[in-house]
């Protein structure tokens, strides 16, 4: 195995300095080294979106990003977003609409939804469907997820008005 590389990264606001095998994926680093189990692994080849996390303000596939690529950067996971409360409305809407069943896709789905409601406040129902079409959900049929995200788009618009 190759030598370990130094890694300085801020995760959910907390600074970490460690050494890591260069082949380690970001999601494995988060799950195994930091014990943040909220990001899930559904495919490990970049298709399902269950491993989605935020790196420097943008969502990425945790299974396609190497941990060393996050060096010097800042990562937000579902745990961090939950603690800071920035997606409380999305989380509540998901529960109210039963937009999750087994919940395995939910962390990644919420990450994608967060970026949508923040960057596309005018999104239509069809655009919501399109936006989240990078995230698998095998349980829900998507309808309730779309409902929940549309609810939040509406609520956020109302509170801004």
């Amino acid at each position: 195995m190759a030598d370990l590389h130094p890694l300085h990264v801020t995760v959910n606001g907390q600074a970490h300095r460690c050494s890591i095998a260069p082949r380690t994926h970001l999601v494995d680093f988060l799950r195994e080294d930091l014990g943040l189990k909220g990001s899930h692994l559904g495919c490990e080849h970049g298709v399902c979106g269950a491993c989605t996390v935020e790196l420097n303000g943008q969502i990425v596939r945790g299974c396609l990003t190497l941990a060393v690529q996050a060096d010097g950067g800042s990562v937000q996971t579902i745990e961090g977003l939950s603690q800071s409360g920035v997606i409380r409305d999305l989380q509540q809407a998901f529960v109210a609409r039963n937009a999750l069943q087994c919940g395995f896709c939910t962390s990644g789905m919420l990450m994608a939804a967060k970026e949508l409601v923040e960057t596309r406040p005018e999104a239509t129902r069809a655009e919501v469907r399109e936006w989240i079409s990078g995230n698998y959900c095998r349980c829900t049929g998507y309808h309730a997820i779309v409902d929940a995200i549309c609810d939040v788009l509406r609520q956020r618009k109302e509170t801004q008005a």
Partner: protein, 805 residues
């Protein structure tokens, strides 16, 4: 800590069409949000891969790279010397601790299969069969070492094509069985040839259904922990039936059941994929026993595709006979299905085809039916029960034939269904295949669907658009689904799968209720409906109820989740236990209050005067006295504030549900692309316990059904190798292509239980492929083209249109 359910005022969407089931019904029937899922939205669930135990090791399997091979030698010395490697074991090593199994059922007459092992012994029979196990300190180390395993093998002749599986020239997969036939069944209720000869019209077609698989988002996973000091095995398992696995581990490893605990908590999707006992499951346990430490197995996605069960590969030749008046006279069909090299343990792979035979023609009042089934072995991944077992096949065949018949006699497809369904006042009755139907509502459901979709207007729109060259189609599927199974399904065949389930309900000192149930949670909302039922049955606020499932050390014995039995069987046990607890609460209250129990009731966390509603005793006070001040109670009285009740449905082999779906699609005749515009479902699952949860069960199942109809297929080459065993190439429905799905309910409670609930988890999958296929063929009708091969890919549409050959 703040409880997770707020604003649960009664009256929200409580359906009024059926009488209440409890004295003061507040939650049963209401769209109560499921409690306890906030943690899943915060990334705080605990799936198997999230669990870490001290000294836990990891296993990776070397799986057969070819479809059939003789194992000549395993070279593992290099792997053994790799960093972190603890053990490398092959089939012979594991066979010393784990017995082989043969998956047949006694009541499927003549069924055969061969002994199967935890790891292949001498021979592997499909690409993906586990052959060698490597256990290391970390998963990465195990995978690194895997690359240094060399297996000398000799490829053996193949039997992959189910069409030729029974030909004399085809190699036998298990020579000792004499042929490649696992199971065959013939059913003939008489006069089919005469009826078809005399009919005004006969329509026939050959239907193909692609092999597909479940793709649970959380792959199959488990941690087996053999504790040598205690001689106890604990298995954390992503699974649907913990007691079944407890029993199987006991039998295969010669351990007493009392030495085994199976824990199934957060499960990331199951759909029937996680109700079968896989070789990997036994191998992981065997490795833990050999090492005396915990061993974790988590399938990666690539191995999931070739080691999770597949399902639904059928070729059905079928025909229907009708009169000019639209009367359906009979069905005749021949089903061939390939199941891989072994029947799966313990449910068997013959059940799917058997269900097809039972269900074809099921919604209709015809009297004549003939069916033939051949279930054959092949060198491909084993198949078994997956969501909707056999139903999507039977429904697609039946409903496509009904459409073809309607077309032949020039009748509207909705009309022919309205004419032929078994009338709502004809129950109980027996279907032509012999299935016992308790009470169904086809007529009411069709009526509701007609209104819901605004059928006449939609037909007018379709006709107008056709003028403009836009080709839309409307397709229907009338569905029956078997739920709430009795012991007739597995128990009588010798499989030790519980048909009963139990619930324990306990009043705690603070007036809280703890409920323990044998059926667990895989996302359906099972625990949520149990909370609703328990709260109503006892008479407490729902925030007071905690539900625990998925632990064989703790919960009453039960069958778990399959055949949509959680609400109907598990829910009834909760109701009975809750009501029994309420009776016991009243006995304690009567003693404390020195009044007759008959004049008391439990309402909203208090014992009240039944006649006036006057508050007499908070449950909190009753709990305090019962648990801590027994000195104040009479010496001959002991409070029993924990009760257990069991329920098994015994009146029918199954309780059938029914429903009807419609799909509206647009087909582009130039590209063959199908756009789903809208989907409607009316379903009758008896008493609806939580409309929001049932709607989502329907929608999730419909989308899985659409997957089978349009996208999903395990593609193989001639060498028996799967060509698209990854998520990029194996297509599943994603949100952008899925339509909005409108769901409505008709409620016909079953009389086999007090609760009246039937299952709701699979009907969507059963009906959607038929509705979508019929809609596509309706759109293609002006071109006199039709396609009966699923998944209906753009290429197949173009082929049907004669645009590609």
């Amino acid at each position: 800590m703040k409880r997770d359910i707020t604003n649960l005022e009664p009256g929200v969407q409580v359906p009024t069409t059926v009488a209440p089931v409890t004295e003061d019904q507040r939650y049963i029937g209401a769209s109560v949000p499921r409690g306890g899922i906030e943690r899943l939205t915060q990334g705080l669930g605990q799936y198997i891969d999230d669990i870490e135990l001290p000294r836990m090791a990891h296993v990776a399997f070397w799986r057969s790279p070819v479809a059939h091979m003789r194992i000549k030698a395993v070279h593992a010395d290099t792997a053994r010397a790799m960093p972190g490697v603890l053990l490398v074991a092959d089939g012979h090593d594991l066979a010393k601790v784990c017995k082989p199994w043969v998956a047949v059922l006694g009541h499927l007459a003549g069924m055969k299969s061969a002994p199967q092992h935890a790891l292949a012994v001498d021979r592997a029979c499909w690409q993906g069969e586990p052959v060698v196990a490597v256990v290391a300190e970390t998963r990465a180390q195990a995978e690194d070492a895997l690359q240094h395993i060399t297996v000398d093998y000799e490829e053996l002749p193949l039997a992959t094509d189910m069409e030729t599986a029974l030909d004399a020239a085809t190699p036998l997969i298990h020579p000792e069985l004499g042929d490649n036939l696992c199971f065959t069944r013939s059913l003939d209720v008489g006069e089919v040839d005469r009826v078809f000869a005399e009919a005004d019209a006969v329509a026939e077609a050959t239907f193909e259904f692609g092999r597909h698989t479940g793709v649970t988002l959380e792959p199959r996973a488990q941690i087996a922990h053999w504790n040598p000091a205690e001689q106890r095995l604990t298995v954390y398992h992503s699974f649907q039936a913990p007691h079944m696995m407890q029993d199987l581990y006991g039998r295969q490893f010669d351990l007493p059941a009392s030495a085994i605990r199976v824990v199934c908590k957060d499960v990331g999707g199951s759909f029937g994929i996680k109700v079968h006992a896989y070789p990997d499951d036994f191998a992981t346990v065997a490795l833990s026993i050999l090492l005396g430490r915990p061993v974790k197995f988590v399938a990666d996605r690539l191995e999931s595709f070739t080691s999770d069960i597949h399902a639904r590969h059928h070729r059905v030749k079928a025909r229907i006979a009708v009169n000019q008046s639209g009367e359906i006279l009979g069905f005749d069909m021949d089903d061939l299905t390939g199941i891989g090299p072994y029947s799966m343990f313990p449910r068997t792979s013959a059940i799917e085809g058997n269900q097809v035979v039972n269900l074809v023609g099921g919604p209709y009042k015809h009297k004549h039916y003939r069916a033939k089934l051949n279930v054959v072995f092949q060198n491909k991944t084993p198949t078994c029960q997956y969501r909707g077992v056999g139903h999507p096949i039977a429904c697609a065949v039946t409903e496509a034939l009904v459409d073809l018949a309607a077309q032949k006699i020039g009748m509207d497809p909705l009309k022919i269904r309205e004419l032929n369904v078994i009338p709502d006042d004809a129950y109980p009755t027996t279907g032509a295949s012999g299935i016992k139907l308790e009470v169904l509502s086809h007529e009411a459901s069709l009526k509701k669907l007609r209104e819901l979709m605004n059928y006449d207007a939609l037909r007018a729109e379709q006709a107008a658009l056709r003028q403009q060259g836009i080709h839309r189609g409307i397709g229907f599927a009338t569905v029956i689904e078997l739920t709430n199974p009795s012991a007739a399904f597995y128990g009588v065949g010798g499989a030790r799968i519980a048909s009963q389930d139990g619930a324990t309900v306990r009043l705690d000192p603070e007036g809280d209720i703890t409920v323990l149930v044998g059926v667990g949670e895989q996302g359906q909302g099972t625990e949520g409906i149990y909370r609703q039922i328990a709260a109503d049955a006892v008479g407490v606020d729902i925030t007071k109820v905690k539900v625990l499932t998925g632990d064989t050390d703790v919960t009453p014995y039960g069958g778990g989740t399959w055949a949509s039995r959680g609400a109907g069987v598990g829910g009834e046990a909760v109701l009975l236990a809750g009501q029994a607890l309420r009776e016991n609460i009243l006995k304690v209250a009567a003693v404390m209050l020195k009044r007759e129990a008959a004049g008391l009731a439990v309402r909203r966390d208090r014992v009240v005067d039944a006649a006036t509603g006057e508050e007499l005793l908070p449950l909190k006070e009753l709990g305090r006295v019962a648990y801590f001040r027994s000195d104040t109670l009479p010496a001959d009285f002991t409070p029993e504030l924990m009760v257990t009740r069991h329920y098994a449905q015994r009146d029918y082999p199954f309780i059938f549900t029914n429903g009807v779906q419609a799909s509206y699609v647009e087909v582009d005749p130039d590209t063959g692309f199908v756009k789903l515009l809208k989907h409607w479902a009316v379903e009758d699952c008896g008493r609806v316990l939580n409309p929001m949860l049932v709607d989502e069960q329907m929608r999730g199942a419909i989308v899985q059904g659409i997957g089978g109809a349009l996208f999903e297929e395990c593609l193989y080459d001639d060498a028996g190798l799967m060509l698209n065993a990854n998520m990029a190439d194996y297509l599943v429905p994603m949100s952008a292509e899925m339509p909005d799905i409108e769901v409505a309910h008709v409620m016909t409670p079953t009389r086999s239980s007090k609760l009246g609930a039937k299952g709701a988890g699979e009907a969507g999958t059963a009906g959607a492929p038929a509705a979508v296929m019929n809609a596509i063929n309706d759109a293609l009708a002006p071109f006199s083209a039709c396609v009966h091969s699923q998944p209906i890919t753009p290429e197949k549409v173009l082929r049907a249109l004669g645009k590609v050959v």
